[in-house]
């Protein structure tokens, strides 16, 4: 079997695998919602409630899309001689490992194991970030590993504090979430407050909340495009999942209001910073990365406005952003391949050179900034409504200003890149079938959720909201 065909086969097997996974996930969700119970399996090692299901679903959707996109992407990279065939197979192995670590996080019951799984996602994806083995990518990978590890070490300290109060005050000498949760009413509020700060800063680093976000643009811009999609779409959300678990633990002792304030602080900081950086960005993938910072900020704000319907909105935003940003990164991958540069100043007339990807990117951009009829419009609006409903008028005002700033920056860059006259020397090129399929697959989610939220999904989010708020 020739190398090229072998690579393709790998890719296709991957896709089939993820398709099965996705189907399983959806069926599981359906089943789960029907019974409505919390599942504890494997002698308490696994713990699945609505929140886990939600993140599982997000992960599997984006992973599936990335696996589709990978076929054509890797194929073209191998053809262009950027990746050796041997390395292409390594790519698929790492891809699977990465997905596995991310998929396992929401399923684990033990919080320390969750921590380890998240650390593993960093370590595995570091290879994918530094995949090209050039100076920039290795630099990015190094920063990625070190910064995220520092962050996550602080999170470990936070876990220990939780464990301390759990064992000391509640008498639960276990890090199993289900056990800890049952005793969480007796936690010492003083310790929980401190611990939650450690958790938020620690996992927040991984989630890309400003000002701990600095690894994010580097890693996203240097990773292979399908991986950038995964990083931005899922990885940072997975850390958010971990944060939410602790927030739920803290609910009974310090109340949700405390976590909400922290969320608002980080959220506002993130969107403010991201807005500014978006405005002066030159690198396409960094631009998208900062947009991820902005969006994680929005999710965080949504969670901050939690008691007023914000959790629902925030989680919806998380899902929508995962899907949309994956699309944008895939499109960016196509663009980078066409223009052989990440520099936006050299990209013009994308819609002429690559009609499908260009159009997808344009629409994706409008979806990303929250234009109807796309899905982020709904979630962004819900976050805003929650903000106003909660009486956070000033925060909402700042939010609107920063969103507008980010919008202006993105629009400026995107319209110049996508429209305009293409450089004379370049010829239009066809996108691969796999890329198109991935775009369409993601597009269905973007548009579909914008038009209507299916009842099961809605119920799932409502369940999550109740879980997180502790009702």
């Amino acid at each position: 079997m020739s190398k090229a065909r072998k690579i393709k086969l790998w890719g296709i097997i991957n896709v089939i695998g993820y398709a099965l996974l996705l189907t399983a996930c959806i069926l599981f969700t359906k089943n789960f919602l029907a019974t409505g119970s919390v599942a504890v399996a494997l002698w308490g090692w696994l713990y699945v409630d609505s929140l886990s299901v939600f993140f599982l679903l997000t992960t599997s959707v984006v992973c599936f899309a990335a696996s589709i996109y990978s076929i054509g992407y890797i194929d073209a990279e191998v053809e262009a001689g950027k990746i050796s065939p041997r390395k292409a197979i390594v790519y698929f192995q790492l891809f699977n490992l990465f997905s596995l670590t991310m998929l396992i996080v929401p399923l684990l019951n033990n919080l320390a194991f969750v921590w380890i799984a998240i650390e593993m996602t960093t370590l595995v994806s570091a290879f994918l970030v530094g995949f090209h083995n050039v100076k920039e990518s290795i630099e990015a990978a190094w920063k990625y590993i070190i910064i995220c590890s520092v962050g996550i070490t602080f999170a470990l300290l936070g876990i220990i504090f939780f464990y301390y109060t759990s064992s000391q005050n509640a008498g639960v000498k276990s890090l199993d979430w289900s056990n800890m949760f049952s005793g969480s009413g007796m936690f010492d509020p003083k310790v929980v407050r401190l611990a939650l700060i450690f958790i938020l800063v620690g996992y927040g680093t991984k989630a890309g909340l400003a000002p701990m976000h600095n690894w994010l643009p580097d890693a996203h811009s240097q990773a292979l495009s399908p991986i950038s999609g995964l990083l931005s779409g899922v990885l940072i959300k997975i850390s958010l999942y971990a944060i939410l678990r602790f927030v739920m633990l803290a609910n009974l002792s310090v109340g949700y209001a405390y976590s909400a304030k922290l969320f608002i602080f980080f959220g506002l900081f993130s969107i403010a910073l991201a807005g500014a950086f978006i405005l002066v960005q030159k690198d396409l993938k960094r631009l998208l990365a900062y947009s991820s910072v902005e969006n994680i900020g929005l999710v965080s704000l949504g969670l901050g406005f939690g008691p007023f319907g914000g959790v629902f909105a925030g989680l919806l935003q998380a899902f929508n952003h995962a899907v949309t940003k994956a699309l944008m990164f895939f499109c960016a991958g196509e663009a980078v391949r066409t223009y052989h540069t990440n520099n936006m100043n050299e990209m013009r007339g994308m819609i002429k050179l690559m009609p499908f990807a260009g159009t997808a990117m344009f629409l994706g951009f409008f979806a990303l900034v929250g234009m109807p009829p796309f899905s982020i419009f709904i979630s962004k609006l819900s976050i805003l409504i929650a903000a106003f409903h909660g009486g956070y008028y000033f925060i909402a005002a700042f939010m609107l200003i920063f969103i507008a700033l980010a919008f202006a920056g993105l629009l400026y860059h995107m319209s110049r890149m996508i429209l305009g006259d293409a450089p004379k020397a370049m010829k239009a090129r066809k996108e691969s079938l796999s890329a198109k399929t991935a775009f369409i697959f993601l597009g269905v989610f973007i548009l579909g959720l914008g038009l209507m939220i299916p009842q099961p999904f809605f119920n799932l989010l409502v369940n999550c909201q109740q879980l997180i708020l502790g009702k």
Binding site: N110, A112, F113, I116, E119, M120, L123, A126, F127, G130, N133, V134, K135, E136, I138, E139, A140, A141, W142, K143, I145, I146, S149, V150, T153, L156, L157, I160, F161, Y163, Y164, S167, Q168, K173, S174, L175, K190, V191, L194, P217, D218, S221, Q222, F277, V280, Q281, R286
Partner: protein, 212 residues
Amino acid sequence: MTLAFILSGFLVVTFVLVICKRITALIRAFRIESVFLFLYTLYMGITQRHADLFIVCGLIFALKAVIIPFVLLRITRRINVEEDLGLLVNPQLSMVIALIFAYLSYLFAHKAMSLVNLAESAAFIVSITAVCIGFFIMVSRMKALGQIIGLLVMENGIFLAAGSIAGGMPFFIEIALFFDVFVFVVIVEVFVYKVNRLFTHIDTSKMKSLKG
């Protein structure tokens, strides 16, 4: 008494880390610190009569005092780096900062956590100081190895903290965390080699091509 001896030893070695100017010295100091951590765990195991703790302390010794320093020293040998750690903050000032950290840790333990048990709080203060100093090493040392060791020192501090206030983590989790640390070191080793190959140095303060 024994505990006081172990803790003060741990603290002193941690301060020594701050004034190390050479990479190998730093690694060796880290090794000694790990030995103190081992002693602490051993002490806890003896006093608490917990069989699990003995396994844990064996692992600490094997991993932190033997394997990891060995791996790190192997790196220094292989990539032939200069010994100089590259200090962004000179040892004197570093010492002052380390003392400030110690004081802040004391404040943190007493004011924020309101620990009352003397033994418990002493260990906790030392552990938080170690975390801070580990962080400080990461921030103020240019070489990549300095950052790795900084992180490991932070982790040591956290292990100490876990032991001090929570009486050690559940057994399986400790094992898993060791595994994690091990994997981390191995992977980082790979990256240090890559950095060295591409940049011909491991000075992370010069890795600034990705900005803004």
